[in-house]
């Protein structure tokens, strides 16, 4: 399984495991329940699109909580951005999306994860399928593709409840006007009025229509809630895509 090529692809592990301080330099409300946190990370070792990092919060009495978040920004970006979806009864996400202010410092370490990765050098075509905030690591791939002026055939299929639930909506619109990028939405709850596109859960017909065909051997990344990831991966195999070409990640709610 591509073993030989691996060690060189991994970030230096000693640099990654050290906890470091990051300063919040920007906060962007993406939707009613998701916020992007832009961080200036001292001595950030650099990352590959698709990787995640760990955040650690410390209460006054020394109690600590850790969570993992996918990195949303491209490796070319001088700051590191996370997009956190608020889980109302969660422990960490309400803090990150509601309490955190510009100028605050958080502890983090990373980047981590050497499998759910894409670099422009890896080639394409690229097929990205996301449910809800599962878009975050795939957005890092699209941003990396744009930042490296790649024209690799890239297709994104995003399943969202409604238009208001789409992360990075304006940026996706801009990206999709570029060469070689197609952005498809399917709305599972409230499609915009007059919507002519997909308005159902992802199915085989939708995947076939988004393409690329299995014969073109796309690199496929699927991220979202478990039910969506399980279904999409299964449908892709049935359509004839090689199981090993399909890389999955869950973006279940992280409280």
């Amino acid at each position: 399984m591509e073993r030989a090529a691996l060690p060189g692809r991994l970030t230096d592990s000693r640099a990654a495991v050290a906890w470091r301080l990051a300063r919040v330099v920007g906060l962007i409300d993406e939707t009613g329940h998701a916020r992007t946190i832009v961080l200036d990370v001292r001595d950030w070792p650099g990352h590959v699109a698709g990787q995640h990092l760990d955040i650690r919060l410390t209460a006054e009495d020394g109690y600590q909580a850790e969570r993992s978040y996918s990195i949303a920004s491209s490796p070319e970006d001088p700051t590191v951005a996370l997009t956190v979806e608020r889980i109302d009864d969660g422990e960490v996400s309400p803090y990150l999306t509601q309490e955190l202010r510009v100028g605050d410092e958080v502890e983090l370490r990373g980047p981590f994860g050497g499998y759910f990765n894409w670099r422009a050098l890896d080639g394409g075509p690229l097929l990205l399928i996301a449910g809800g905030s599962g878009l975050v690591p795939l957005m890092a791939m699209l941003r990396h593709r744009a930042a490296s002026s790649s024209t690799i055939d890239s297709r994104l299929l995003l399943s969202a409840r409604s238009r208001e639930d789409i992360l990075y909506r304006d940026e996706l619109a801009k990206l999709s006007s570029g060469e070689g990028v197609a952005v498809h939405y399917t709305f599972t709850r409230r499609p915009p009025s007059g919507w002519q596109g997909f308005a159902r859960r992802i199915d085989a017909e939708m995947l076939a229509s988004v393409g690329p065909a299995p014969g073109r051997m796309p690199r496929i990344f699927v991220c979202g809630p478990t039910a969506l990831v399980e279904l999409v991966a299964e449908l892709l195999v049935q359509l004839g895509h090689a199981p090993l070409a399909i890389r999955t990640e869950r973006f279940g709610p992280t409280g």
Binding site: M1, R3, L6, P7, L10, T11, S13, R14, A16, V17, W19, L21, D54, R56, L57, T58, A59, E60, Y63, Q64, A65, E66, R67, S68, E91, Y95, E99, R101, D104, E105, V106, E107, F112, G113, G114, Y115, F116, T226, V229, E230, A233, E234, L236, V237, P243, L244, I246, R247, T248, R250, G252, G255
Partner: protein
């Protein structure tokens, strides 16, 4: 020392912290994590093989595995993605029972699975009543997304070591890093030492 996160209070769980390793939090559902599509091997084609540095390889069919003496461990499980689930109930065959069928001087093993996944451990971590080939969870057949037909259960280590869809153990005289171990995760994965990633 970690700086205080202004305004962060956190939510202490009512759980006995003695059972929750550092950096973990409790969940009550059973999250699913895997690197690719869920494989579906028909039961009549399913076998479990012990091979490698053994006097002769031994394999069991699904029926033969179910006919072996089973155990029903109740264990706490800890995922490297930071969730822990306490008091989970399983049914399966102790790895000791399977290894009794072969003669070997091996010190290590590599578990291999449908879907191409591999996982390595010193043999002592899957022997001495510390590991099972589990095929039931919570009194029900193990669901495919959780590793059914059968998964390895090695609860004293982070849960990726409990490889899903396991089909065999290759016994080895040397350590051979597996899938996640090659992709940046820790080679051993002791949750009590927080050995999540390479370098921890």
């Amino acid at each position: 020392m970690s700086p205080i996160s202004r305004g962060f209070r956190g939510r202490r769980t009512e759980v006995d912290t003695v059972r929750l390793p550092p950096g973990q939090h409790l969940v009550h559902d059973f999250p699913v994590l895997s690197a690719g599509p869920t494989p579906h091997t028909p039961l009549d084609q399913w076998t479990f093989l012990i091979s490698g540095a053994v006097d002769r390889p031994v394999s069991w069919t699904w029926k033969e595995l179910l006919a072996l003496p089973a155990e029903t461990p109740t264990v706490d499980i800890h995922c490297v993605t930071k969730w822990s689930k306490l008091g989970t109930t399983w049914k399966g065959v102790s790895v000791d029972t399977l290894l009794a069928a072969v003669d070997s001087e091996a010190q290590y093993m590599s578990a291999w699975c449908d879907g191409g996944y591999t996982m390595n451990l010193p043999l002592e971590d899957v022997t001495g009543g510390r590991a099972w080939i589990a095929y039931e969870f919570g009194g029900e057949p193990l669901h495919p997304e959780h590793g059914g037909q059968a998964r390895l259960l090695v609860p004293h280590l982070y849960f990726w070591k409990s490889a899903k869809w396991v089909r065999g153990l290759e016994l080895l005289d040397h350590d051979k890093p597996g899938f996640w171990e090659t992709y940046g995760y820790h080679n051993y994965g002791d949750p009590w030492k927080e050995q999540r990633y390479q370098g921890d």
